[in-house]
Amino acid sequence: MDNKSLVETLAKRLNRSQSDVEKLLEAFISAVKERCGDLDSVAIPGFGTFEAKKRLERISVNPATGKRMLIPPKITLSFKPSALLKNKLR
């Protein structure tokens, strides 16, 4: 399901215009961005948790050239599905 059909379905189910739904969706994403940018985690019951995680720097070797690269540390957004979602998918 792509973004467009998602917005359409949501608009139909909520009896709202698509632009309204898009605005709400945008607000949700920026809330996640903001919270995870502060290394907080956003928990959504029955669905899962969005969490920012720190990754250590590491040295990786390119197997083709044998060159060693120092990969810098970074913060990534990870999603941990809740048990409920996992069971539904089983």
């Binding site: 399901m1 379905t9 940018g37 956003v42 720097e57 913060i75 957004l77 998918l89 089983r90």
Partner: protein, 449 residues
Amino acid sequence: MNKKITFPELIEAVATATETSKRTSEVFLKELFAVVTNSLVNGENVRIKNLGQFKLTEVGERKSVNVNTGEEMQIPSHTKVTFTPDKSLADAINMPFASFETVEISNNATEEELKLMSSTQQLPEKESQGILREAAREVPQVAADSGGGVAEGDMSEESYRGDGNVAEVVQEPQPSDAREDGGSTEENAVEEKYDTGKDDAEVVEEEAKTHEVESDAGNAAQNGGDDESEDDAVVQDGETVEENSGRLDDLRRRLEERYAVPYRSSLFMRGFFWGIVTMLAIAAVAFYSYYLYNEENKAYNQAVAFANSGRGDEVARQDSIEAVVAAIDSSAVVAISSADTAAVSQQEVGAIAEEPHEGGSDEAAAVRYDTVTRSRYLTTMSREYYGDFRFWVYIYEENKGKIKDPNAIAPGTQVVIPPAAKYGIDKDDQASINRARALAVEILPPSDN
């Protein structure tokens, strides 16, 4: 930081951002995740613009062991959901570390180089613990990070030990260092700089006070000499120094504000800041001591002149003798202190002047001297004089008598810089570098961590 945002909080955030009721946003969010869950259950991947993609992946059957009973068991194949954040979202979240880039490491790089590289990249908190030991050896300033409380404690102790030589402490946060460190995003750097800045300001304040006392003595010695204007100038000068430290305070406060949002602030400005702060401090102290030196000379001359003219008058003579004695005393003290400062600043200027010609052959022939400080190590000197930091071992060899542990040299230690020819130092010759490296291993056997 590391807080868990619950669903009600999320609802509130969305409601305030869209200026709708909480009810609306709650219904919306619940529907949103219901729709996403539904389509996932139906075996469809879901892509949400600006957020990312929820993707289903098949996990094959695999064997596992029950941790409690030690029993083998079979995990049946199933699907699981993975989430890949959108590029814009991932970049926004990685913003604090955005300045880092992947670096290629040459194949024959030594451990030490690797550690140096990682320490110049300056890792935050826990990440840097691993390199802390090495950093403490090579780059004590960098090592004083928030995670390494021990290292920091050591540093401040060291700086207090160095207080005897005021000029030296002032010299420490060299502008070049500040710029070098400014290249990193780490809040540690700021914090550390902030520390030295504080020391610096304290020292400057102290300086100002002591000099004021001394100049008072000098003025008392003048007695008849009514140099009110000069007197004012001295006080004014003291004030400017204090003003400078006031400015330092101000900068510090502003830095603290920045420190509250360290990741968002610009790196360049930070380095720039400290460059200016340090230059101000050095300039103020140098100017002030030079001024005082002149002042005391004048006072002395005046006192002598007064003594000569006052012959015949008993009382006047006694006064003048006292004045001369006082003047000699105070001028001697000031002369010593200002000579110290002058020597250090001269040395600094010399060091800066020498940098462009590093490795010059005619220069390399002469034996030179240098002083170890908190920001100037054997490796720094080696890089400056020989063009490669690895040749520090030869400086150590030459000064073995004075240096017990090359990892912990007391600031202020004078070292002899041997001429490059004496040990066959050549930065372009791989064999020469290899020899230095072998010697380094001998001096500092690699630890086994």
